[in-house]
């Protein structure tokens, strides 16, 4: 089926099988491998990206469902070589260890602050319930997000 999806500002016209998952589409068809596949069962959140501005788990969305939509992946956050403030906050606060969950964490975190720009620590922790860090490094991830919120994005 023919679809048209705007990914990181660039519109792609593609012909996909209806069963193609959105994560498979961005990774394999578009080569954007920053979005990771972790559990593949919509539990871990490693595949989180933005669909029309909101974080979703791209292992549980069909590419055909994204037809006509705007998608942002981790690769689309930096502008002119300058990192997104959330990426910067993760770097400054050591918000990553092995890095596997990081793209999903950053995408979920930006979506969280879009909905709640000044969250409490509890609200950040609850807001991250859909993202698992296999290093269990949540403390600095939460600190990164709080720092980003305080920095006014």
């Amino acid at each position: 089926m023919k679809i048209s999806v705007t990914v990181n500002g660039k519109t792609h016209e593609s012909d996909v099988e209806p069963r193609t998952l959105l994560v498979q589409y961005v990774r394999e068809d578009l080569g954007l491998t920053g979005t990771n596949i972790g559990c593949d069962t919509s539990s871990c959140g490693a595949c989180s990206l933005h669909l029309d501005g909101e974080a979703v788990k791209s292992c549980t969305v069909l590419a055909v469902q994204a037809d006509g939509s705007q998608v942002t992946t981790i690769e689309g956050l930096a502008t002119n070589g300058k990192m997104h403030p959330m990426q910067d906050a993760f770097m400054q606060n050591h918000g990553l260890q092995c890095g596997f969950c990081t793209p999903g964490m950053v995408m979920a975190a930006i979506s969280l602050l879009n909905e709640n720009p000044d969250p409490t620590e509890d609200e950040v922790r609850i807001g991250l319930e859909g993202n698992l860090c296999r290093c269990t490094g949540y403390h600095n991830i939460v600190q990164s997000i709080l720092a980003c919120a305080k920095g006014g994005k």
């Binding site: 089926m1 099988e17 209806p18 069963r19 193609t20 998952l21 498979q24 593949d40 069962t41 919509s42 539990s43 959140g45 989180s48 669909l51 909101e54 974080a55 979703v56 788990k57 292992c59 549980t60 969305v61 069909l62 055909v64 469902q65 979920a108 979506s111 969280l112 909905e115 609850i126 807001g127 319930e129 859909g130 993202n131």
Partner: protein
Amino acid sequence: MIPSLFDYKRASSAAEAISLVTEYGEDAKFLAGGHSLLPLMKLRLAAPSVLVDIGRLKDLSYITDAGSYIAIGALTRHMDVETSPIVKQHVPLLACAAGHVGDPQVRHRGTIGGSIAHADSASDLPATTLALGATYVVQGASGTREIAATDFYKGFLESALQPDEMLTEIRVPKMNGAGWSFQKFNRRAQDWAIVGVAAWRGNGGSGVALVNMGSTPVLATDVATALASGASVADAAELAAAQADPQSDLNASAEYRVHLAKVLVRRALEEASK
């Protein structure tokens, strides 16, 4: 994991969606947010040959005050139910339960109608709407009918929906200030409840329903009857599992679930009675 092959049809109206599933019969499934169906298809536990995508029927995404009840379009997402001022004001128990479904990413995609039509007893919204005495409006090739939540759940993932029928609206009676509580016991925040309880009490009545305590969501009418005849919360809660038939699984034995149901119903009623 990739689903097995299927044909994809995108409906532009409810009538077209119903006509498509009528044409393809029992091999066709509606696709709303996909957060119940796609995981099953990826595990090949479901393999419909045709998916009829109703996810773009924006006219079925709404929340309106209809006087004695709140009308919610079947394609309203969990996030929209959770954050709706109308739902929070008139059916706060439902807003709370919607906020417990999955995680934010899931709530950005999953819909109230999809969750109810999937009829999973482990999901939060079937039991919650059952406790609240909701009515479901369904549209089929032969017209529209209303099904009381009490008549809807027929078995494991089975509902009173006919293959050519689509759930279009959920009508939830206003709570009129009644006390309420939603209890969800699980290991990780995003998981399904090992046992969950949706309860309200006030205005001379009460309603208690159980999540994941059998093949269907369970309306614990014995508890409500006991409360109505003057039983204490503690005594009524002892009847929590009287009408349930829980299964043992990886997370909990049936006996443990019975224990949890009693404890959680007591906690829920204590909170709802404040």
